[in-house]
């Protein structure tokens, strides 16, 4: 029976502020799951702590709301033990790029087949608006007592440098396109990262809906506001690493890095980088454990009538004297 978008929604009361960008993201996740028709019991949303962390309670699949900064660790453990699960990890920019930055980098090096979405609102929403790692140097959002004196993290650049093999950016108010990006990320074979620009109307009075729409800048020809957000796919940008050669890889990595620096007047969305040539983590495991995917930890038979089925006789014999 075909699943509808509604089947992926829970009835849990949603307490996000009205017009919060998070609504767009959770809708896009539900729509993407529906489009891919992933059986509910085969999908899990892992989330961090923050306003964004509540997402897992609103999606009607397995939901694991973890700890501040640690979402990727829980998500990877589950995926490793049961590679059959479709896992989407979500969390705030503080969660993933502040307290959890070490896990972000380490996850990139592994390249497990899962998707990680950061809700990038420039602030620590749930703790009342402190600066997040993506807030630019010198900016002062409304609840900061003084301007931010830290340089910002570049999430796209960091993901590329860490080894994520699918790196993209979406915008929370363009739900349909975000849904497409989530589908592409989930279908990607390897670790996918999605940086989602998420207005926080309550605490971020700089990167607002109007700001992204370019209300403050005029197009010289049309004399209308010139939106900041544009899609890479509408340009001749090609994010895909097509063949296994250093020159090709370097070209795609550098172009993505350079693109990731575009910000003030024009902000690219879409896929920055995609590389399916780099081996997935499960393949690397299979080099050591050939039947890993066919008999992963979660599926192994460990006992028969309450007794171990593991046969240790070879090892024990080697220890015998």
């Amino acid at each position: 029976m075909e699943l509808k978008v509604g089947d992926y929604k829970t009835e849990v009361h949603n307490d996000w502020c009205s017009a919060c960008g998070d609504f767009g993201i959770v809708n896009a996740i539900q729509m993407a799951l529906c489009e891919m028709q992933i059986p509910r019991h085969r999908a899990a949303i892992f989330s961090g702590i923050g306003c964004s962390g509540k997402t897992s309670h609103f999606v009607n699949v397995f939901g694991v709301h973890t700890l501040h900064g640690r979402v990727l660790t829980f998500a990877q453990g589950a995926k490793l033990a049961n590679p059959d699960m479709e896992i989407i990890a979500v969390g705030g920019d503080g969660d993933g790029l502040g307290i959890g930055a070490g896990h972000f980098v380490a996850a990139g090096r592994r390249n497990l087949d899962l998707t990680y979405i950061i809700f990038n609102n420039g602030v620590y929403g749930l703790t009342k608006g402190q600066a997040s790692p993506t807030l630019k140097l010198g900016e002062k959002t409304k609840s900061l007592p003084t301007p931010n004196i830290n340089y910002n993290v570049n999430p796209i650049g960091l993901a590329i440098a860490s080894g994520f093999t699918f790196v993209a950016r979406g915008y929370a108010y363009d739900v349909r396109y975000l849904k497409d990006l989530i589908v592409a990320a989930v279908r990607h074979k390897g670790l996918a990262f999605l940086d989602v620009l998420q207005p926080c109307p309550t605490y971020n009075d700089i990167n607002t809906r109007d700001w992204y729409a370019g209300q403050d800048q005029t197009d010289e020809i049309t004399q209308k506001p010139r939106p900041r957000i544009y899609k890479l796919e509408d340009t001749d940008y090609d994010p895909v690493v097509h063949y296994d050669e250093e020159s090709e890889l370097n070209e795609k990595l550098t172009q993505a890095l350079i693109k990731s620096l575009e910000w003030d007047t024009k902000i690219p969305t879409g896929i920055f980088y995609k590389n399916e040539i780099i081996s997935q983590y499960d393949r690397r495991i299979m080099d050591k454990i050939p039947n890993y995917l066919e008999n992963p930890p979660a599926c192994q038979c460990i006992s028969a009538s309450g007794r171990p089925t593991t046969d240790l006789s070879k090892i024990l014999d080697s220890l015998s004297v």
């Binding site: 049961n82 896990h103 309450g306």
Partner: protein, 635 residues
Amino acid sequence: MTLASNEISWLIGGPQGSGVESAANIFSRACATLGYQIFGKREYYSNIKGEHSYFVVRVSDKTIRSNINQVNLMVAFDAETVFRHYSEVIKGGTIICDLDLFDAKLDEVRTIDAPFRARLLDQLNKDSIIVQDVLDLAKQNGVRLCPISFRSVLSSVADQLKMPHLKGMIRLFNVLGVSFSLGIMKMPSQSLLESIDATFAKKQSVAELNKNAASYAYNYAAAKFDDFPRLLKPTSKNPQTILVQGHQGTALGKMACGCRFQSYYPITPASDESVFLESNEILDVKENRPGSTLVIQTEDEISAMGMMIGSALTGTRSSTSTSGPGFSLMAEALGWAGINEVPIVITLYQRSGPSTGLPTRHGQDDLLFAIHAGHGEFPKIVYASGDVEESFYDTGRCFNYADEFQLPVIHMMDKFLTSSVVTCKKFDVDKITISRGKLLEKIDGKYKRFAFTEDNISPRSKLGLEGGIFWNTGDESDEEGHITEDPEVRIKKMDKRNSKLSVVLQKIPQDEQAVSFGSLDTCVISWGSPKGPILDALEMLKEEKIEVGFIQVKLLHPFPADRVKSLLKGVKILVDIEANQTGQLGQLLKQHVCEPDYYVLKYTGRPMTSTEIYESLKKITEKKAQKRQVLRHGA
């Protein structure tokens, strides 16, 4: 104090990284294959190359569970070993010493630190000393010296094999030392050669070279010191014996009981276990395709903990192994596992803290920390093993507890256990039972992960199970797992979780909670690795007709107060023995049962010997002891 008739206590020392460990393994295995019991311990600095490391191996035809203070055969091919250990060699004992060291000056041994140097000079009442000085002193004390030039023996081996480059291979000094020892003792040389083969099983050419050197050295020493008495009489062999290293007990326990996921971050002395698991990652399974343990080295212990929990949510038996500093980082997620009722097992190989402390040394510092780790109130089990053999079976128990009660279990081990090499009865996999508690394989009807039940344990679904969708959160939650801040639900959920502790005390059998080795007028109480030295000390006392009892507490949290009270009935003098400064079990006893009358504590970072415990208990029985005795033996 002398040694028992048919036993030896052998010491070999040398710079870290020079092969002392493989030498000790060769020696231990050679003796073990002849049917002797082995108890060996390794001591080393937090250093890779150069600092002093040593191995003491006790060999006997009786059951032994500990080291003793005395050494009766020592091999020294570096000056530091002589300076540090000469005084441990007892009257009638022997020192095999490299002739080329005799003139070495104490001041020139860079790795000897100032406090030790000062103490030694003070003892000898001199301004400077050389190796010859301390050897003379040993000789005066009735120790026999067997001087051998290691270099010239190596040179003869090189000539014999026509391999001149061997002359400079001082790495071979280790195997020479072992071979001299066995040659002097006239132990059958065949066992030496077989042991070398087993030790270098994967390196055929290294094995051959070592065997050649060993044969030569063995014959050389046997001929040169042919008047030497035979120290060990032949003994019979028990076919069901294995020679294991401390970390292999929990590792093999994990394989046997079906732990299929282990995440870890490297730390001494815990990582040996993970490395062993990974080296044996593919598992034979009866009448089935091979299984495997997925071992993941993570970016830190926080991640090790997160991954283990994520894996456990899929229904996989999952574990991590760490030591104090790593466990400190795990505390937050431990509470998450507690509130979400996730079964996990943390093997906590304690070492001496606080902070980095004595990173390669022993200690039982973390009992109260383990019990209280994590903010907020949530149930967990803390369980301790007393020796390597026990640790195999206890690992199986810990996973059952985790599954049955759906909570985190902290399995307490320590540096003493992990770096000992012991003979014991072959592990019997069939003695392990596997109970997954209320883990579901199929869901009927509407499912609620935290449904209230009579015993407060809810049927458990797993990620991927059809119809079994659940939510987890570190927030307080309702029966489905969604966030709630309702005061009444809060009471019900808190009560549900925490009342599992009384279920634990009801359901875990009494003899798994605490073990009695006789509760007598004077009774020792302890937990973890002091068990071996205590039991050996009690036997020594028994030979003098002094009877002392012993209670080993294994379940430390929730504290089995009723069981301990019943075991302590009639006890008049209670002696708490543990390897920490503050007497942590003693504090628990004070809280739950009664305050111990005496404390015997050790916190030098070195493991207890049976000799020390024997002496302190003797003082207690003679009423000559202070309330608190601090043990100090060991370099």
